[in-house]
Amino acid sequence: MRSSFNKFEEAVFRFLMIVSTLVVLGCLFLIIGTVLFKGIGSMDLDMITRTPQGGYYLGKEGGVLNAIVGSIVLTSSATAIAFLASLPVVLYINIYAGKNSRFAELIRLSLDFLWGIPSIVYGAFGFIIMVYFGISASLLGGIITVALFILPIMARAMDEVISLVPVELVEASFSLGSTRIETASRVVLRQTLPGIISAILLAFGRGIGDAASVLFTSGFSDRIPLSLTQPAATLPLAIFFQLGTPFPEVQERAYASAFILTIIILIVSISARLLAARFRRHTIQ
């Protein structure tokens, strides 16, 4: 009697677990599928080759080239800055300070906290910085804010791979007379290149998809930004604004813009995996 109940319980939970897993994965396919399906119908060449023309937000012709270029320029620059800041951090705590040292743990903790802070708070903080330095809403403001926002994402992902480098490898390099910076740049960096590239792409993907951090800071413009001080449109905000208009034609374009953004995100995540696999053959197993 008891054992048949146990069997029943196990079967019920097994069923629930499989259903839950299917729900989670199903949501992913449903979201991507819906956005791609809805978007493809409204896609045309104008969307990616033209900027908004007069009356675009009332349904007249044009595209979102301004937002595509804005997003890519803004996020690439922010990713470059975040990389220049997070690489030294990760190398320092792992090679100079020692990966299990108190200092390293403290920095990891603070990166974890930074990772947990919502992007809207980064937006507000970026806004405060801009007011302090007298920068108006511009490409530059957006770059600074997004760089801060993706810094912990990139640094944590890099730390995850760099802290896994075998101690023996580092010690072998030291024993051959290399200094710490030589070990860091010629041994550790080369060994972890696949992981570092994935970390960069991961951060780029997060940065390009985030709207709340650029809402205050990068402004919005129908023109392609030509200098750091001009306001720049971004894709997530273009989606948000177009969906918010009362005109069905413009809302259709929000779907098309969402299609473009989703494709970019898919390309970034898939190439992160492929590149990581490709560079892996240069590492010592």
């Binding site: 994965l25 200094t179 997530p236």
Partner: protein, 297 residues
């Protein structure tokens, strides 16, 4: 030659230390920046009035944030109620029952779910969840709703935090020593009994930490919520009512905030509230996770 190399090493070390230290104090700088900007309003209005008054009309100088705080709590509460069982069951399945091939295969998909931009979740919510709430769920309970409701926002949010909870919970499960599972199985326990009495019991603190992190992620999520929650300044009375979460308030009003006195300060204060709550939950869960990691090593 050696001197030059050593010098290079030292200079690089110093420069890297400076960047690292800067990164370490960034949290404090953010807190300070938000506090300074929120200070003007905190000086004029008592804190309890700001946090617990329901009257919000910036033109008249009333800045009671309770409707927004309640909006956030409703939305986050619904999200966590949906997300906890589903992500826990998924984590158990993937980590304890599924073939390792299925586990490895599902990992990139869960990562991808975490990588979808929130504005895409938002637009999906508008296309799928809002009509679902309006056309199916609300009539089921005999209520009429526009669909733009705390329920719709909660559902969208719950999907957004699945990957956060699943990822950490699975790591917590992996940290349970295999010997414990084997001991239980060798005593004749079934796999489910082993999970129930050994794995879950052992990893309970870690599971709590994972869900607290999921909660804090949902708490600050902005764009998706902004797009589906309805944004009406009133404390929601039911799940079918619209709500106005705190992050949506900040995002929606940045444009006009500089033109009304104290308005920007009030919005910065709401950002500070978000910051403090999120850091608080992060401290709790990081502490728990840190203790577990200590126990492992």
């Amino acid at each position: 030659m050696t001197a030059k190399r050593t010098l290079k090493d030292l200079i690089a070390g110093k420069a890297m230390f400076l960047i690292t230290a800067g990164c370490g104090v960034l949290v404090l700088v953010m807190a300070l920046g938000l506090l300074i900007r929120a200070w003007p309003i905190m000086q004029i209005k008592p804190l309890h009035e700001l946090l617990f008054s329901v009257s919000w009309s910036p033109m008249k100088g009333d800045f009671g944030m309770l409707p927004f705080i309640m909006g956030t709590l409703w939305v986050t509460g619904i999200a966590i109620v949906i997300a906890v069982p589903i992500s826990l069951l998924t984590s158990i399945y993937l980590s304890e029952f599924a073939l390792s091939r299925i586990r490895e295969l599902s990992r990139p998909f869960i990562d991808l779910l975490a990588g979808i931009p929130s504005v895409i979740y938002g637009i999906w919510g508008v296309i799928v969840i809002v009509p679902l709430v309006k056309g199916r769920l609300a009539p089921l309970f005999g209520v009429s709703s526009t669909g733009y409701s705390v329920l719709a926002a909660g559902i969208v949010l719950s999907i957004m935090i699945f990957p956060v909870i699943i990822h950490i919970t699975m790591e917590v499960f992996q940290a349970v020593p295999a010997g414990l599972r084997e001991a239980s199985l060798s005593l004749g326990a079934t796999q489910w009994q082993t999970v129930k009495h050994v794995v879950l019991r052992r990893s309970l603190p870690g599971i709590i930490a994972a869900n607290v992190l999921g909660f804090s992620r949902a708490f600050g999520e902005t764009m998706a919520v902004l797009m589906v929650a309805g944004n009406i300044t009133k404390i929601p009375g039911s799940v079918f009512d619209p709500g106005y979460p705190l992050p949506a308030l900040i995002a929606n009003n940045y444009g006009e905030m500089m033109s009304i006195p104290l308005y920007d300060s009030a919005l910065m204060m709401s950002a500070l509230v978000l910051f403090v709550v999120v850091i608080f939950f992060n401290v709790i869960s990081r502490y728990i996770l840190h203790r577990i990691r200590l126990r492992i090593s």
